[in-house]
């Protein structure tokens, strides 16, 4: 019975794969339907999708930030000098 359910409405493994695929590519009509039905029956995968979207947004947001150099241990004058040396070769 469970095997048949999985074939029709996906296992959680397959469902989470489609949840990821959906973020990058268009799902087929069959995949969309399978995923929708699976989520109706499965709270864990419903939570997974919500959290996956939050993570995706947080990742996109993270990339906009920049690092403050004065908090890092970097010798900028030395770096510039070394670059200039290499360039004049």
């Amino acid at each position: 019975m469970k095997k048949i359910m999985h074939i029709l409405f996906l296992s959680c493994l397959k469902a989470t794969e489609l949840i990821e695929k959906k973020l990058h590519f268009k799902l087929s009509a069959k995949e969309k339907l399978q995923l929708r039905v699976h989520k109706m029956m499965c709270d864990a995968c419903t939570d997974y999708e919500e959290q996956n979207i939050i993570i995706e947004k947080a990742l996109a947001k993270q990339e906009d930030k920049e690092v403050k150099l004065d908090e890092k241990d970097i010798n900028l004058p030395d770096l510039k000098k070394s670059i200039l040396d290499k360039l004049s070769k």
Binding site: Q62, E63, K65
Partner: protein, 184 residues
């Protein structure tokens, strides 16, 4: 021979380029190498720079290529998919293992996205991923393109791409959940 413009740009733009590179690769030594490579490449390509864009824009585009190349090489590393095994999360029927089953985070999305601790946890969880998975995630936002175009740039198949992302996200979500629940 070094030309005057390049010398000026080294003094003018190294700080900005470096701060960008450090954020993108999370490694100050590597970031310094990439900035140096950027200027070396700029010096070779100088004749092709015709002032169509600002020097700063031009240098940043070279640096971004260098960063993308770095991650592309990481992604090609032949780590087997098994290094992050599906069986860590699912049983042989494909059901969630009990201790890995996602549970609600009890927070709304807007709240989490602005939460400093949440973002800190996210960053450390990305750094804890196997390099290949982390590279996939970084590249997606560096190249800033959707699905098929990214696959073309990386020279991997769509299936390969979302499977890497799927495994990365399973691990990332689990890591965030563990650390976030400890926080609250």
């Amino acid at each position: 021979m070094i030309n005057d413009s390049l010398e000026k740009w080294v003094n003018q733009f190294t700080d900005d380029l470096l701060s960008w590179a450090i954020y993108k690769v999370s490694d100050t030594q590597l970031a310094q190498d990439l900035v140096q490579d950027t200027f070396l490449a700029a010096s070779e390509k100088y004749t092709s720079f015709q002032g169509k864009s600002s020097p700063k824009t031009w240098l940043f585009s070279i640096l971004n290529y260098k960063i993308i190349d770095h991650y592309r090489a990481k992604m090609r590393q032949p780590i087997s998919m098994q290094s992050l095994s599906i069986s860590t999360f699912f049983n042989s029927d494909g059901d969630w293992l009990l201790n890995k089953r996602p549970t609600s985070w009890d927070e709304d999305e807007g709240h989490l996205l602005d939460n400093e601790n949440f973002n800190k946890i996210l960053k450390s969880c990305i750094d804890a991923l196997p390099e290949k998975w982390a590279a996939g995630i970084k590249l997606k936002y560096l190249i800033n393109k959707k699905g098929e175009e990214i696959c073309q740039e990386l020279g991997i198949t769509p299936t390969n791409f979302w499977q890497i992302m799927h495994r990365a996200k399973l691990q990332l979500r689990d890591c965030i959940e563990k650390n976030w629940k400890r926080e609250i």
